[in-house]
């Protein structure tokens, strides 16, 4: 199993550009999550999904969109990138009925918006 994979590893965007961060898991997990991590600030939840076709907002969803058309994939879309979106983005997945279990994280995407 590859676990959770994310692409790209690094990206530099200009202000106003758009991009999609890819996330794929091969563990057949039903729950998937997107977090952003700013220095010294822990992880903040952007969006999450409890299954294909179901997504919901987390703590900091503004400026982002997600979709979940398959169990495996959970892409994160940035529209009109802003410097405040400079961060490290982690995708995670888990499988547990009735609440969050162990979350498996991908290696992250380091995004700079200038």
């Amino acid at each position: 199993n590859a676990g959770v994979t994310q692409t790209p590893k690094f990206r530099i965007l200009k202000i106003g550009q758009s991009m999609t961060l890819q996330c794929t898991q091969d563990m057949n997990h039903n729950y998937m999550y997107w977090y952003r991590q700013d220095p010294g600030m822990g992880l903040k939840l952007i969006y999450y999904s409890v299954g294909a076709g179901i997504t919901d907002k987390g703590e900091v969803p503004n400026g982002y969109n997600v979709s979940r058309s398959t169990t495996e994939d959970f892409p994160l879309r940035l529209e009109l990138a802003a410097p405040s979106q400079t961060s490290v983005y982690f995708c995670a997945s888990s499988y547990l009925a009735g609440g969050p279990g162990e979350q498996y994280f991908g290696p992250g995407t380091r995004l700079t918006v200038t």
Binding site: Y31, Y33, Y35, G40, M41, G42, L43, K44, L45, Y48, V50, G58, E59, F90, A92, G98, G99, P100, G101, E102, Q103, Y104, F105, G106, P107, G108
Partner: protein, 111 residues
């Protein structure tokens, strides 16, 4: 999720010394998870605590959940350089799929 406060924010220890990080909440927690993130890496799950007063051990690591389920701690005995990283606690409300992470404690180990 609720707010969890982690202390200290940073800790520098000499190799072989013990280390403890604390996670506190003003309200009762449903459960608590602990993660470790190596420098430049991604968070890796260590453990989940659910029961009041629960104590779990993993080699040199001891995890505790308070009797009132409002606090938790992670204690490392005789730190090694491989323990370097940031340790996060994370909690979820009852029946919630979301985790709220603390800001983490960054551990440095001086050889």
């Amino acid at each position: 999720g609720q707010q969890v406060m982690q202390i200290p924010q940073y800790q520098h220890v000499q190799e072989g010394e013990d280390f403890t990080t604390y996670c506190n909440s003003s309200t009762t927690l449903s459960n608590i998870q602990w993660y470790k993130q190596r420098p430049g890496g991604h968070p890796v799950f260590l453990i989940q605590l659910v029961k009041s007063g629960e104590v779990k051990k993993q080699k040199r690591l001891t995890f505790q959940f308070g009797e009132a389920k409002k606090n938790s701690s992670l204690h490392i005995t005789a730190t090694q350089t491989t323990d370097v990283g940031t340790y996060f606690c994370a909690e979820s409300g009852a029946g919630s799929y979301q985790l709220t992470f603390g800001k983490g404690t960054k551990l440095s180990v001086i050889p």
